[in-house]
């Protein structure tokens, strides 16, 4: 003890004066911090607890009613439910990605650069990240990169959207059947080739595989016997003019991929898809009416409504993971650096493959770090506010609601209810109490040493 050193030079009175002086010095060092903490952190806890037991106006005691409202009131319940989704999803995804990145970056030479890129979002504000993702999630695939990529992938793998805005002319043997479909004006017969002409497809939007249409008057290819109805579906339009309606002119293309159904007595009896030259064959369709279902004419796929009611919470969680996976990666990376390399090498020499080494050795050794990361992210996620506030458009904010956002609305919104706001604050505090207890236990052990 530094202070006792002086006792050999003075008497007991000077030691008490000394002790008093040292206490005064300590108080001088501590007081500013403790005053601020007392007034702005400790006192508010007491205030919030007390205020949460009173009603909107603060005049009458309502007991735990404000807490009950969290499970009975619809909009509050949405907030609680969304917070649970956040709590389960966000920390887990961020931690798994962080682990993956931390382990994999050790195997490439540019791992440091990669880490820098992933860690960078930690430095920017949630507001800036929110604006960034507002741009990413824009609905129009020509503007929002998420939908641009999504639509690109969709159009690569899904069937081509067909022929939006294609339609028959009045002179054509087709009429609208409602719901966007077209049917032949008359029933079709086997042996009488059917003409299915359409217009309204821009030449540039025709399928690449489309070939000049085969005139239905020429005898069909093999396999057309008995009750099989054959015919041609083609784009009855000649570029540059000169085409005659209802006639297959030389340059006119087959509507490759057009779906055709034969309907008899309201039942579909056969279906076919037009070939590259527009020909099709419908076995057993004699006497049926041919229908071009509406799926042929659907509008172009427009991507996902990321910020709509059903996807807004996962979308905002995506932005959160973008921000915080780097945090998990850096912490886990530091833990990884402490894992003894010999252990991993020994396992490899014993014939363990990389997955086994990862699963049986790396992950168990990292378990304490993973727990710290998960718990930290969970505490953080409880309080998420900015991202939801900024990314969710006004119309979707009710669907994206979380506790911290509801607290803000209840406390400072137009129809504020400080009772409910304070109750949410207390709930947030209660939820972090276990972590507080763990922190205290750990520090007590350390200071006792």
């Amino acid at each position: 003890m530094p202070r006792t050193r002086r006792t050999d030079t003075g008497n007991t009175r000077s030691t008490t004066r000394d002790r008093k002086r040292s206490r005064a010095v300590a108080a001088g060092f501590l007081l500013p911090a403790l005053l601020l903490l007392g007034a702005l952190v400790v006192y508010p806890i007491g205030y919030s607890v007390q205020r949460s037991l009173f009603d909107r106006s603060g005049s009458s005691f309502v007991g735990l009613d404000n807490y009950l409202a969290l499970v009975t009131d619809d909009s509050l319940r949405t907030a609680v439910r969304n917070n649970l989704i956040w709590l389960v999803l966000a920390p887990a995804v961020a931690t798994v990605l962080g682990l993956l990145f931390a382990v994999l970056t050790e195997r490439v030479r540019w791992g440091t650069a990669f880490k820098l890129v992933v860690f960078m979002p930690m430095a920017i504000s949630m507001l800036a990240a929110g604006i960034i993702f507002r741009l990413v999630y824009e609905q129009d695939p020509d503007r929002g990169v998420a939908n641009a990529v999504w639509v690109g992938v969709h159009d690569t793998f899904a069937e081509a959207s067909g022929f939006p805005r294609a339609r028959p002319l009045p002179a054509h043997p087709l009429r609208a059947a409602g719901g966007g479909a077209y049917v032949t004006k008359e029933a079709v017969r086997a042996g009488e080739p059917v003409r299915l002409p359409l217009v309204g497809v821009a030449p540039g939007r025709m399928p690449e595989e489309a070939r000049p249409a085969r005139d239905p008057a020429t005898p069909p290819t093999a396999g057309a016997t008995g009750a099989t109805v054959t015919g041609t579906a083609w784009l009855d339009f000649t570029k540059g003019g000169g085409g005659r309606p209802n006639v297959v002119d030389p340059a006119e293309l087959g509507l490759a991929g057009l779906r055709i159904e034969a309907v008899r007595d309201g039942k579909v009896v056969a279906t076919a898809t037009a070939a590259a030259d527009g020909t099709f064959a419908l076995p057993g369709a004699d006497g049926a009416v041919l229908r071009l279902p509406a799926s042929n004419f659907r509008e172009q796929y427009d991507g996902v409504e990321w910020l709509g009611p059903s996807l807004v919470t996962p979308a905002v969680i995506g932005a959160y993971v973008w921000m915080w996976a780097g945090f998990a990666m850096v912490l886990i990376g530091a833990g990884l650096a402490a894992v003894p390399r010999e252990l991993l090498e020994a396992a490899r020499v014993d014939g363990a493959n990389e997955w086994q080494v990862f699963r049986r050795i790396t992950v168990p050794l990292l378990a304490p770090v993973l727990v710290v990361v998960l718990v930290t992210l969970m505490i953080n996620v409880l309080k998420v506010f900015d991202l939801v506030f900024v990314i969710a458009p006004g119309s979707a904010q009710d669907d994206a609601n979380v506790l911290a956002l509801q607290l803000y609305r209840s406390s400072f919104g137009t129809d504020a209810d400080l009772g409910v706001g304070s109750a949410i604050a207390v709930v947030l505090l209660l939820l972090v109490l276990p972590v507080m207890a763990v922190n205290i236990r750990r520090i007590r052990r350390e200071t006792r040493r």
């Binding site: 952190v41 990669f114 880490k115 504000s125 990169v145 507080m436």
Partner: protein, 309 residues
């Protein structure tokens, strides 16, 4: 100590090392080497994709900020790769000439700098007291501070706004600074106390024998030795306050709001104001990004120490 520093020398060479079982060193090694190379390729592809995934959103903001309003409305930012000529600094000049954004950036500085310095000052005072001064109940007081580490700021929003209203600090810069300081202090005290406690006792004893008082001891010995921890903490707190929106939204002067609040007000009409939002958001990111790239190591260690927060 931070994983952002290159650690190539210690990285496992597993991806290139043959993993053949010892029993068949010759026959297996070729096949397994090919397998390992394929796996290494897969890892690279995966990381490149992930890297793109992390870069694209920010790139989108950056490119959008350099496009004219009509270009933004008409097509995606990736069009700049096809037509780089459409890039223009027009949005920035217009924004800076307007003055609102520059004014709010100034507000941000006026909040962030004092709030950071105050936390460092009061935090190191208290950290030193908890580490080296004798007073009754010292450990209990310290545990009390540790308990406050995880208290969410949300608990204090309503009570402090009432309190500030009563003493005339509501919607003032000083009020915002004090709020940030109070909520930065538990972590600051915790970090600095632990760091100061590691200072060798002999060093302090020697200074005391030379007749240094506690204040002198603090300024001449403790503060210089605490440099690295104070730097980490300062960077952490600086970014924390700079990036805050919630506290500023409630406590800051609505006539001269900091940048986050000013931009947030624009977000409400999101749609045809990307030419304001994108450059504004980017301007708000310039300082944090500069701090991040200049002090990666300190930032990373601050983040890691803050994992308890």
């Amino acid at each position: 100590m931070t994983s952002l520093t290159p650690r190539a020398s210690t990285a496992p060479k597993a991806s290139t090392a043959p993993k053949a079982s010892p029993a068949s060193p010759t026959s297996g090694s070729r096949a397994s080497r090919i397998a390992a190379r394929a796996a290494g390729g897969a890892v690279r592809v995966l990381l490149v994709l992930a890297g793109l995934f992390w870069l694209l959103p920010t790139a989108g903001l950056l490119f959008s900020s350099f496009r004219s309003p009509s270009d933004i409305a008409g097509s995606g930012w990736w069009e700049v790769f096809a037509a780089p000529a459409q890039l223009t600094t027009e949005n920035y000049t217009r924004l800076l000439a307007n003055g609102t954004i520059t004014g709010s950036l100034l507000s941000t500085v006026l909040i962030t700098v004092p709030a950071t310095l105050l936390v460092l000052l009061l935090g190191s005072f208290a950290g030193y007291a908890f580490a080296w001064l004798e007073f009754p109940g010292r450990d209990w007081w310290f545990l009390g501070v540790v308990a406050l580490l995880v208290v969410p700021v949300q608990v204090a929003l309503v009570p402090v706004s009432k309190l500030f209203g009563a003493v005339g600090l509501f919607e003032t810069t000083l009020g915002v600074v004090l709020f940030h300081t109070a909520f930065g202090l538990p972590f600051a005290i915790f970090l600095l106390r632990n760091f100061f406690a590691e200072i060798p006792r002999e060093l302090l004893e020697a200074a005391r024998l030379d007749g240094a008082g506690e204040v002198r001891l603090f300024t001449r010995v403790v503060l210089p030795l605490g440099g690295p921890a104070i730097a980490s903490l300062g960077i952490f707190q600086f970014l924390w306050v700079w990036n805050d929106m919630l506290i500023a939204l409630i406590f800051a002067d609505s006539q001269s709001p900091p940048i986050t609040v000013a931009l947030q007000q624009q977000v409400r009409q999101f749609g045809n104001n990307v030419d304001v939002l994108a450059p504004g958001a980017f301007l708000s990111m310039v300082v944090p990004l500069a701090v991040f790239f200049a002090f990666q190591r300190q930032f990373a260690s601050g983040v890691m120490a803050g994992a308890v927060k």
